[in-house]
Amino acid sequence: MTANDARSKFLLEYRDVAKTFELGKDVVSDFNLRIGHGETVVFIGPSGCGKTTTLRMTNRLEELSSGNILFGGVDTATIDPTKLRRSMGYVIQGIGLFPHMTIWENIATVPRLKGANRDELENIVDSCLELMELDYKEYAHKYPHELSGGQQQRVGVARALAGNPEVILMDEPFGALDPIVRESLQDELIRIKDQLSATIIFVTHDIHEAIKMGDRIVIMKDGRIVQIGDPLTLLANPANDFVRDFVGSKDVLAQFKYLKVADVDTHDRPPRIAESDSFAAARKKFDRRMRRYEYNGMGDIDKSPLVCVCSGEGKLLGCIDVSKPFSDDTPADQCMKIFPDITENSTAYEALSAMIANNVTNLPVQGEGGKPIGAISMTSLHDYLWRAR
């Protein structure tokens, strides 16, 4: 690996960053962090923990007292602040749209500063509005005060994206919005960051937002990093009581909201029968499976009496509970039950809710084309929790 590769491996690198205000109070100290390309890192902590200051040091809205921040391997102290800021998107809680400019002009700000011409600006504004799902005809020539708070912040995000930034800095961007709008903007941002593989630093004080948005979460307290980790690690292995209380590790079910079905053991594929088969065929398949388990000494495995009914192409149509008193010749489609679709991308919470709501202890997991590729069960969720501990 050449020196150049080593340098460009991380987009941002904080080295022993510290900030002391005039009164001698340490706002941030010993801050060390490396952020890779395409990563979303959330800074979180109680107010006054230094998260916003750290964010603002990144684009030199605050100067460092000591240490360095490297941006693409270059010390930001050596980069002209206005140039640095134009290569970083910036979204704040107060939105900060320019009230005397149209949405079009607001979004065009940074590309215009970078010297884009009229045609380029038109294209940029058009694509940014489309990305944020705002209709060009309806919104481009409106003024910010004519939009709702949620729409304004959509424009705020669009404006930050317009400069084609290498990293987007977001300082509690959804903090002032009502919960429903906040939720939809979070989903939107997740979609966009996946689409653009954008690097984002996101400051919040809301742990649910942090867990939802962050690939990694940096928990801060009194200007220091307490723990860095992905959401599930923080939930399952909090470094101390502060983190435990802060992330709410006691709430086991909350973890399931962030746990994907793919993360849980789902390899145990349930038995399948064809659409044209009868109830007897289902029971036969199931009994055979049970005998095999016993033979292999897997007596304690989940014995939920479910058999999948599949179409000719292998698509899951429904499930038959073989413990139910149907007559042997009942056609499969008349004794099967249809459950909510669970895929590998569903959350464990969705799977668990579906199991409880339908009074079953396992559910088939569907893969491509709706084919059953495995099953998630209460037992596998339980195993996951206790293995993680």
């Binding site: 749209l97 005397h100 400019m101 700000t109």
Partner: protein
């Protein structure tokens, strides 16, 4: 005191107002921009302007006369313009400061964060946003100045004040009314014109 034609009175009155208020605008608005984040300086300047405003206009002319007499311009247009220049400062300065200081800090923060230079922020963000307040100050100054300019007739500056003074001296109500009508019509006219200018400026930089 010779009673010139109505047109002459209009011209000299208009000249005094436009020159003095124009000069005040040209100096005070940049001064306000400079002083907006200098609390001590802006307090001192505002204090000075407040002090000036407490001096009755006739007294101010009286104060200026002996000083300007050194250059042989103790009476006439020069002291009138200087006095009016001083009077028109306060509303404009105050409005400029208030307009520039009342800008939503998040707007400025995001402008800085987006990589605008200090100069770009001033001309593209701060001044356009403060413009309605600054224009309101300018209009107040112009209307007030038109009134005060009438009194400048006492020191031989001409204008509609000449009619008023002459009318009072001769107890001629009609002559007084001509002067008063002329001055107030001019005040209304100037305000209307400046209102038009404000509309055009707002149209160009957008509404809020």
């Amino acid at each position: 005191m010779p009673l010139g034609s109505f047109i002459d009175a209009f011209q000299s009155h208009f000249f005094i107002v436009v020159v003095s208020v124009g000069l005040a605008a040209a100096t005070v608005i940049p001064l306000g921009v400079w002083a907006r984040n200098r609390p001590v300086a802006s307090t001192l300047i505002l204090g000075f302007d407040n002090l000036i405003s407490t001096i009755p206009s006739v007294a101010l002319y009286g104060l200026l006369m002996p000083v300007l007499a050194i250059w042989n311009v103790g009476i006439g247009t020069v002291p009138a313009v200087i006095a009016l220049f001083l009077y028109s400062q306060l509303p404009m300065l105050r409005n400029t400061l208030v307009g520039l200081r009342n800008i939503d800090p998040s707007v400025v923060d995001s402008a800085i964060g987006m990589g605008m230079t200090e100069r770009q922020i001033l001309f593209k963000i701060r001044l356009p946003l403060a413009m309605p307040m600054i224009m309101a100050g300018l209009r107040t100054s112009a209307v007030m100045g038109t009134g005060v300019a009438s009194i400048a007739a006492y020191i031989g500056a001409g204008g509609f004040g000449t009619y008023i003074i002459r009318g009072i001296a001769a107890s001629d109500r009609q002559t007084i009314l001509i002067g008063a009508f002329g001055a107030s019509a001019m005040a209304i006219g100037i305000d209307f014109l400046l209102g038009g200018v404000q509309k055009i400026l707002e149209g160009r930089i957008g509404k809020r």
